[in-house]
């Protein structure tokens, strides 16, 4: 009961409501614009959160996350280009349905299923995060090391890119985290005599570079691309018949999305693809998929929004990001001096349940904004790239510079922009780099501390049941893509 009251707190705070309002609005705009999305947007907004208190800052970031994930559907349906990677599966049926003159119906279903998926996942978050946090009390350094390894091996099975390329990108992310003074011995590593590098490479320059700047370079290759934009008259709420057709799909995909979200490193993109394929598998009319199936839209959208709450579970309970955007949220927590993990649940329940409540409200808000404002948000896609991207560049540069007031950070951002472009060009996903960078210190720190505890005996890792379980899960995570590839071949 107390926790329920704590969840309601944002409703009674005009400041938090204002933050939620702007966060949801901003998230929707980011989601609608192809190439941006909640991860880049969250990274760009991080410097601004410094003027807010920790709860308002995280509420802002989470509302951007929820609304941004939904916003991608508007572009997916109307111009056949996913606003966010998580909306890729929505294109498959959303656009064909819109071509048939039913854009309003497609967006109505996307809005309803996204809201249901999002709310479902917040309920999962409220119940499971405290349980997981309680379990985490049993964790010592070796268990955290094994958990971080599990998180990294999960990178092998994320949607984009080949498993080995994802693992290389993840290892590269960890390598970046080793730049600077070694935290145990204060010895310089990879600093090349540059003073600014002794503090290490910041998270924001890397994220803004890999996402925003590399996207700017990608957009520079697409300036002659013409989008076939379908006009939207108005969003229609799904009919009774549509509800009958899709309610099971929405619930199933909400469950799938929440589960996928909870897995470290996985996120909305994987969730929506699995949600979509499961919707097809269970459908009475699988032949309609890809030609404008309403079930396809429901399956993909419920799953990707359900992944938002799911991904917050390991982020808050263990400090392991559930997705790229939650890695940004995790950075926000750290910047504001909040340490995620079991102690957070015991010491700051008002803070945590405030976030849960805010996520719930954000899901309702994006439903209202989406329903009444989709037509306006759809017009945002008309802003030409030649105007939009130079503006994004100005914000990116100032945002990156602002955190440490360091011009080196801006150079690092540009370097990672170029690197990110070529990584994506040759099939390396940039998400594992971010996850690797976030987990890097945890991996190395827990490994070295464990070896101190074990007196250098590596075999001791396998004598601890929880650590052993995570190592076995890691092996399964590594084997999964191989099994999947064999299945597809058959």
């Amino acid at each position: 009961m107390d926790n329920l009251l704590l969840m309601m707190a944002p409703l009674f705070s005009s400041k938090l409501l204002l933050v939620l309002f702007f966060g949801t609005l901003f998230g929707l705009i980011l989601g609608v614009l192809p190439g941006l999305g909640p991860t880049t947007g969250g990274a760009l907004i991080l410097p601004f959160t410094m003027t807010l208190d920790p709860l308002s800052a995280i509420v802002l970031l989470t509302s951007i996350y929820c609304a941004g994930t939904y916003g991608g559907a508007i572009t997916a349906v109307l111009i056949n280009t996913p606003g966010t990677p998580a909306a890729a599966a929505t294109c498959l049926d959303g656009y064909p349905l819109a071509q048939k003159g039913e854009a309003g119906r497609a967006l109505g279903m996307a809005t309803v299923s996204s809201t249901v998926g999002g709310i479902f996942s917040v309920i999962i978050l409220v119940f499971f995060a405290p349980i997981l946090a309680q379990l985490a009390y049993e964790f010592g350094q070796p268990e955290y090391f094994a958990l971080a390894i599990f998180g990294l091996t999960m990178l092998a099975s994320i949607g984009e890119g080949s498993p080995i390329k994802n693992l290389i990108a993840g290892a590269f992310g960890i390598l970046i985290s080793t730049v600077g003074k070694d935290f145990m011995t204060s010895i310089d590593r990879f600093t090349f005599g540059i003073n600014e590098l002794t503090e290490g490479i910041g998270f924001i320059p890397v994220v803004v570079g890999l996402f925003a700047m590399s996207e700017m370079l990608t957009q520079s290759t697409l300036i002659n691309q013409v989008f076939n934009r379908i006009a939207l008259k108005a969003i229609k709420l799904p009919s009774k018949e549509d509800y009958k057709k899709t309610w099971k799909t929405i619930i199933r995909s909400s469950g799938i999305g929440s589960f996928i979200g909870v897995l470290p490193a996985e996120g909305g993109t994987v969730a929506s693809l699995i949600g979509y394929s499961e919707a097809k598998r269970f459908s009475k009319k699988p032949e309609e998929f890809g030609k404008g199936s309403i079930e396809g839209i429901a399956g993909a959208e419920a799953a990707n929004n359900a992944a938002t709450g799911g991904a917050m579970v390991p982020t808050l309970a263990l400090g392991i990001p559930g997705s790229a955007t939650t890695a940004v949220i995790l950075t926000g927590l750290i910047i504001h001096g909040v340490r995620p993990g079991p102690d957070l649940f015991r010491e700051q329940p008002d803070f945590l349940y405030g976030i849960f409540g805010a996520m719930l409200i954000a899901n309702v808000l994006f439903f209202i904004f989406g329903f009444f404002g989709a037509k306006i948000f759809a017009r945002i896609t008309l802003v030409p790239n030649k105007i939009l991207w130079p503006m994004i560049f100005a914000v990116s540069v100032c945002g990156t510079y602002s955190l440490n007031q360091s011009i080196i950070d801006v150079w690092i951002m540009l370097f990672f922009g170029m690197l990110g472009f070529f990584m994506r060009r040759y099939g390396f996903s940039v998400v594992p780099v971010i996850i690797g960078l976030i987990l890097g210190e945890l991996v190395e720190g827990t490994l070295r501390q464990s070896l101190v505890i074990f007196d250098g005996n590596w075999l001791m890792f396998f004598t601890r049941p929880i650590a052993l379980t995570f190592f076995i899960l890691s092996l399964i995570a590594l084997a999964f893509p191989l099994i999947r590839a064999k299945k597809i071949k058959k």
Binding site: T51, I164, A171, T178, T221, P390, V397, Q405
Partner: protein
């Protein structure tokens, strides 16, 4: 799908050293090897102060792992070649050049001027010829961003010919 297979077949007919998979793998291996050599220059902690492993051990292990995995992707690519990527257009190289211009101007003249110059240059290269919009992206918007960061976040931008005038 057919197009991708066509591109893959075309890639297979090229000599190995001009294929993307060879060039990418080579670059990764060369950089990783250079970094691996660098790790041998890290200071060594005396045994009495050392807790666990040496500071160089972890990065060394990571770099070896990256090299091994790169060899695996190259081996797999010899069986299943990557598709040939389209040539990059002129607008890409001009955008890349704008990054360089930004670096030079921000270092030598002024940070704000560098943002302004890049914005106008990129917008123009991407096809914007209308003066009002060039002024909007190159002057009006950067001024708004500058003032916003300066007043709301209390940010002090690095000295330069324009910022000095503003601060004085």
């Amino acid at each position: 799908m057919k197009n991708v297979q066509k591109q893959k077949r075309a890639n297979k007919s090229l000599p190995f050293f001009v294929r993307d998979e060879f060039k990418v793998s080579l670059v990764i291996i060369l950089i990783s090897t250079a970094l691996l050599i660098t790790t041998f220059t890290f200071d060594i902690v005396p045994p009495i102060l050392n807790r666990g492993i040496q500071p160089a051990t972890f990065p060394k292990a990571l770099l070896i792992l990256i090299i091994v995995m790169t060899l695996i992707i190259y081996y797999l690519a010899t069986k299943n070649p990557w598709k040939i990527e389209k040539k990059l257009p002129k607008s890409f190289y001009l955008t890349l050049l704008s990054f360089l211009i930004f670096l030079v101007i921000s270092k030598t003249l002024d940070f704000f001027l560098a943002i302004s110059a890049l914005s106008i240059f990129v917008s123009y290269c991407w096809g914007e010829k209308r003066i009002f919009y060039l002024i909007l992206v190159g002057i009006i918007f950067p001024v708004i961003v500058f003032i916003f960061f300066e007043t709301i976040l209390g940010l002090r931008f690095p000295p330069g010919i324009i910022t000095n005038i503003y601060y004085s």
